[in-house]
Symmetry: C2
Subunit: 369 residues, 2 copies
Amino acid sequence: MSRSRLAVLGTGLIGGSIALAARARAPEYEIVGYDHDPTTRAAAEGALDRLFDDPVAAVAGCDLVVLAMPVDRIPAVCDLLEPVVRSDAVVTDVGSAKLDVVAAGERAFGGRFVGGHPMAGSERHGIDAADPALFDDAWWILTPTQETSSTAYRRVAGLAGALGAHPVALDPGTHDALVARLSHVPQLTASALVDVAATAGDRDALLELAGGGFRDVTRIAASDPALWVAILRSNRNAVLEALDRVTGSLTTAAGMIRDERWDDLAGWLERARRARLGLFAKPVMGAEPVALALLIPDRPGVLAEVTTAAGSLGANIEDLRIIHSTEGGRGRLELVISGHGPAAELAGALGGLGYRVEVAPDAGLETSG
Amino acid sequence: MSRSRLAVLGTGLIGGSIALAARARAPEYEIVGYDHDPTTRAAAEGALDRLFDDPVAAVAGCDLVVLAMPVDRIPAVCDLLEPVVRSDAVVTDVGSAKLDVVAAGERAFGGRFVGGHPMAGSERHGIDAADPALFDDAWWILTPTQETSSTAYRRVAGLAGALGAHPVALDPGTHDALVARLSHVPQLTASALVDVAATAGDRDALLELAGGGFRDVTRIAASDPALWVAILRSNRNAVLEALDRVTGSLTTAAGMIRDERWDDLAGWLERARRARLGLFAKPVMGAEPVALALLIPDRPGVLAEVTTAAGSLGANIEDLRIIHSTEGGRGRLELVISGHGPAAELAGALGGLGYRVEVAPDAGLETSG
């Protein structure tokens, strides 16, 4: 039996790392690739089995296509590849905003497109910074919708797991709102802080006074502007909404300072302090993990149905994976839920939706890859 | 000859570290202290030669008084101590905003008050975090004015140097504008970012998506709100001005995103990127260091005159110290200037002001302590 073929389009930091990691850990794939930049392409030569100078040629006959170019180019690439990608091939991407990309992907490939966003990166860029261990223990967000086929999800989640990451499912809109708040607006804020500090004039005094705090807060301001314009552009609405909230919050604080409402200011700072401590102090697993398993048909919307049920019950999905079944057209979905109570509730709800749910005695899902 | 007496009022992180460092490195001082909190006082017992439960008793007969309580309490403490501090004693503080504190200090003690702000700290607070090495190689900003006596400056700069720090002079208003931009507003921004992220709702997704960047940018949001209210309160005007600039800068960026002016946004990000790289990439010493030395009379305004001359010529003062002279009423001021050209220019300008300036063949100021 011949190997499956994986195409990586865009062989920068993320694409290059995917190729390297897949080579090392996913021997079932022959890895082909493309980059529009001849220099990057030449540098990526050793990381892939075969490099093409044309994206259409690269994806021909592929089973799985990973779009790893700058996020603002993905919609056009979907349109370009739509006529040439095999009709049973699965397509995913690694863009850092998802609503627009998923819409374009589904327009071109229907339920065979699965949006993705590995939570891994580096301040360095390009193939030279690529690292087969880049995704080890990282979250790999996948954004299935009502349309996503579970076969497609399974294949992409399987790749993410094989590369060392933990795949988790999130709604595309939720993803975008969160990354706007957690990444895109902090980036703009760092740039604004540096901009305002740098115009203060006294350069030497700046150096003397700028402590470790300022260094930490503004480190990300040194990132590549072209990359960031692409990211901000592709998440425009969510960024504007989050930016509006942050300037609103700062204006609120300014009002408290102007009106000398020091107790209010202390309360505002205390709320943020608790949130910050809570955010990183808490272990990722809040309560005892409980594994649920259910057989799922390979039809669009199954994953969204299950994750939506969990969300509406407030059950935390700590892990989610789909195991290929030998029965054809079906898969086994394994979920790890935080806490026995929420797990039992979710099992009941899924039972009500027609699923047969097993509650495993322990959460020992085998690790993939 | 009996030892000089140093009083440290407020024995938290900074005051406690000053006491510990002075004990280890400034044996010429007997160290007494006070803290308004009985628990802190008890914990500081071992760090000082003598602890008082009354600030007035603590400063009686002292040669040098360091005010290390929260910055918003310093003005009231100046008023309280004015009648009891010896008429030849020098008073300094370690507050992180200077205009109001220096005004209050000079009202009470005239030219014998020297504002100070050691650029050292820790995310921990209190005497338990105190460390005799806290100031090693840190900048210790001093904010002399036209009124400051050079004897007083000399004594405070000598203490800072003995504790391991590098004393540098800065105008109080410049200091406040810079710390607002480099520390106080970044603090508020971190709190605003956490506040907005935390209200996004999906706590688990937040954890999965919040990467190292967000962790770095918001670490300072976990600081003590009471301490920060005191700091923001004492630097109210400069904070409001800087906050206004930062929200203005963010609003500008939002406008570019809203109007899809991507080239403008790239330019804005690029300017911040260059500023950030320039700020920390540059070694502190930009050009060859040149030492200048001049005899200065002990009269108010001398330091301000010299540092103002340097500032107006654009000469960077990399180091500044005053050596006690045996001639009584005079001191030797040593400056290290970055670059031969600026050093020669400054020497000329100071000559024009009536100073006799020597240009040392090398910048080898002895280290103090």
